[in-house]
C-alpha cells in the first residue's frame, strides 16, 4: 500500500464572499421553516418584501457611487441583510416598517461606511433597533402560535412572548406559568424552542462548513447559560428564568450563529471573539433580566460592535516567531 504522493502547491479554492453568503442563506432555511410552521406565513411575507427592497436600495446606492452593479449585487450580502432583518421583525410586519428598516440597514448602516467590509455595526441589527425605538407598538406585536389560534385558546392573532410574560410576572411560580400559560411549551415558549433548535441546526451546518469559528457562539451561549444559572432561584415568581429557558427563547440561537458571527462587525482574533461573545451573552442576560426590553439581542450586539475595535486592539495575536508583545502604547506617556 503506498501513500498517494501529490506534489505541491496544494492550492484549493478559498470561500468567496458569494459562496459564504449563499451558505448562510441556506442555513437560515430550517429556522425560517420553523418560524412559518409555528407562527404562520408572516415571516415569509416579510422576506418577500425585504429581499427585493434590499436589492433595490443596494442598486440605487451603487449607482450613486458609480460602482459596478453586477459585481456587488452578486455577492448576496444585501440579500443576507434582508433575510436576517425579515427573520428578526415580527411576522406580518407592515410594508412601510420593513421598507424603513431595510433602507436604514442598507443606506445608513452599510453604505455610508463604504459598503460591505467596512460597516462597524451589523446593518440588520441597526435597522432593528431603529425600528424598535421609533415604532415600539408595531415592533412588539409578535404573532401567536398557530396551534393556539386554531384551538381557540386565545383571542386575537398576537400575544406576549414568553420572555415578556416572564419579565412581567411577579405572582406565579415558573412551574405554574409552564402549566397554565398557553404560550409556554416544554422547555421554553411554545414554538420558540423549535425555532431556536432549528437555528442551532443551521448554525452547526455553518460551523461544519467552516464559515465561522466556534469561539463567539460558544462564548456567548455559555456566558448566557452561566449568568442565568447564577441568578436562577429554582423558579420562584421573581425568577429570571432557567438557563434552558434563556438558551431556547427569543433570538438566542439566531443571534449566536447568524448575527454575532458576522466577520465584519465582530472582533477579529479568536481570543477577541471569545471576549466579544462572552460580553454579548452577559449584556443579553442583564438587559433581559433587569432592563426595559424583554429580548435584547440587537442592543447587546450593537454595544459590542461598538467595543469590537477596542477588543481587537488589546487581543492582538502573537506573531509567529515573536514574543508576546503589549499593544503598541507609549508607556512613557503615563
Amino acid at each position: 500500500m503506498s501513500l498517494l504522493n501529490v506534489s505541491s502547491p496544494h492550492a484549493h479554492r478559498p470561500l468567496s464572499t458569494a459562496t459564504v453568503m449563499q451558505l448562510v442563506l441556506l442555513a437560515t432555511l430550517p429556522g425560517i421553516a420553523a418560524l412559518s410552521l409555528f407562527f404562520g406565513w408572516g415571516t415569509l411575507l416579510n422576506l418577500a418584501i425585504a429581499i427585493p427592497l434590499a436589492l433595490l436600495f443596494e442598486a440605487c446606492v451603487l449607482k450613486l457611487r458609480q460602482r459596478p452593479l453586477a459585481f456587488y449585487l452578486g455577492d448576496y450580502s444585501a440579500v443576507v441583510t434582508a433575510v436576517l432583518l425579515a427573520i428578526a421583525l415580527p411576522p406580518h410586519s407592515p410594508i412601510w416598517l420593513v421598507a424603513i428598516g431595510i433602507g436604514f440597514a442598507i443606506i445608513i448602516a452599510k453604505h455610508l461606511y463604504g459598503g460591505l467590509g467596512y460597516n462597524p455595526f451589523n446593518p440588520a441589527m441597526v435597522a432593528y433597533v431603529v425600528l424598535l425605538i421609533s415604532f415600539p407598538v408595531e415592533m412588539t406585536q409578535w404573532a401567536a402560535p398557530l396551534s393556539l389560534i386554531d384551538s381557540g385558546a386565545i383571542d386575537g392573532h398576537t400575544m406576549a412572548t414568553p420572555l415578556d410574560v416572564l419579565k412581567n410576572n411577579n405572582s406565579e411560580l415558573v412551574a405554574d406559568l409552564f402549566a397554565h400559560n398557553p404560550g409556554f411549551g416544554r422547555w421554553a415558549g411554545l414554538g420558540w424552542e423549535w425555532v431556536n433548535l432549528s437555528f442551532l441546526a443551521g448554525g452547526c451546518f455553518l460551523l461544519y462548513k467552516r464559515v465561522f469559528t466556534w469561539h463567539a457562539p460558544v462564548a456567548m451561549l455559555s456566558s448566557l447559560a452561566f449568568c442565568s444559572l447564577f441568578f436562577y432561584d429554582g423558579g420562584s415568581s421573581a425568577s429570571k428564568g432557567s438557563p434552558l429557558f434563556h438558551l431556547l427563547s427569543g433570538a438566542t440561537m439566531f443571534g449566536a450563529f447568524f448575527i454575532i458571527t458576522d466577520p465584519v462587525t465582530s472582533a477579529v482574533s479568536n481570543r477577541g471573539r471569545l471576549v466579544y461573545g462572552a460580553l454579548i451573552g452577559l449584556l443579553l442576560f442583564v438587559i433581559r433580566a433587569w432592563g426595559n426590553y424583554p429580548d435584547a439581542l440587537a442592543f447587546a450586539v450593537l454595544l459590542m460592535n461598538f467595543a469590537a475595535p477596542f477588543i481587537d486592539y488589546y487581543t492582538q495575536p502573537r506573531t509567529y516567531g515573536h514574543k508576546a508583545k503589549q499593544p503598541p502604547s507609549k508607556e512613557e506617556s503615563h
Binding site: Y113, G115, P120, G291, N292, Y293, P309, F310, Y313, S329
Partner: protein, 192 residues
C-alpha cells in the same frame, strides 16, 4: 446603602451616560477621539478633574454658598472652582508627564469648558446628593465619559481606513457613528 451607591454608579456610567444619553461633553468626544492614545490620556485627565471638581463644588455650595445665602451664585462659582481644578491638573500633568501634556495640548485647558463637568456639579445640587454621592456621581460620569470616548476612538481609527463616501468623511461619519452608539445605549433604559 451600598446597593444605592452601586445603582448610582450604574446609572451615571451606563443608563444616563453623559455623552450618549444626556449629550453633554460632546466637544472633547468629537475632538479628542481621532487617536486611541490621546483618548486614553484625555479620559484619565477628565476622570481626575471631574471627580475632584464635583467634590470641590459640593463643598463650596454646602459650606460657603448656603451659609451665606448666596445659592443663586452657584453657576458662576462652580465655573471658578472648575477652572482652578483644571489649572491644578494641568500643572500636575506638566510636571509628571510632559509628553502627555504635549499630546493633550489645547484640550487640557478645554476641560474647563467641558459641559459635562459643570453639568455634574449642577446636577449634584439639583438631585440633593450627599458628599459621598456627589463624589461617586462625578466619578461615574467620568467613567462613562471615558468608556465611550475610548471605545469611540478605537472605532474611529478603524473608520479612518474605511471607504467612506467623500461627503461623509471625517466628522460627519463620526457624528453618524455617535448617533448609532446612542441608539445602542438606549438598550440600558430601565436598568436602574
Amino acid at each position: 446603602m451600598l446597593a444605592d451607591y452601586a445603582l448610582l454608579l450604574i446609572s451615571a456610567v451606563l443608563v444616563n451616560n453623559f455623552v450618549l444619553v444626556q449629550f453633554l461633553g460632546l466637544c472633547p468626544f468629537m475632538g479628542v477621539s481621532n487617536k486611541l492614545e490621546t483618548a486614553i490620556g484625555m479620559s484619565s485627565a477628565t476622570t481626575f478633574v471631574l471627580t475632584l471638581a464635583s467634590i470641590c463644588s459640593w463643598l463650596t455650595y454646602q459650606w460657603l454658598l448656603v451659609p451665606l445665602g448666596l445659592e443663586y451664585l452657584r453657576t458662576i462659582s462652580f465655573i471658578l472652582v472648575i477652572a482652578v481644578v483644571v489649572q491644578f491638573t494641568e500643572m500636575v500633568v506638566r510636571k509628571t508627564s510632559p509628553l502627555l501634556y504635549k499630546v493633550l495640548g489645547v484640550f487640557l485647558p478645554l476641560i474647563t469648558t467641558n459641559c459635562a463637568v459643570l453639568g455634574v456639579a449642577l446636577l449634584n445640587i439639583n438631585k440633593n446628593h450627599s458628599f459621598m454621592e456627589s463624589a461617586l456621581y462625578g466619578f461615574g460620569a467620568a467613567a462613562g465619559f471615558s468608556l465611550v470616548l475610548v471605545l469611540f476612538a478605537a472605532m474611529r481609527e478603524r473608520l479612518a481606513a474605511a471607504d467612506v463616501p467623500t461627503p461623509f468623511k471625517g466628522a460627519a461619519i463620526g457624528m453618524i457613528t455617535a448617533g448609532l452608539m446612542s441608539l445602542a445605549f438606549m438598550g440600558f433604559a430601565g436598568l436602574v
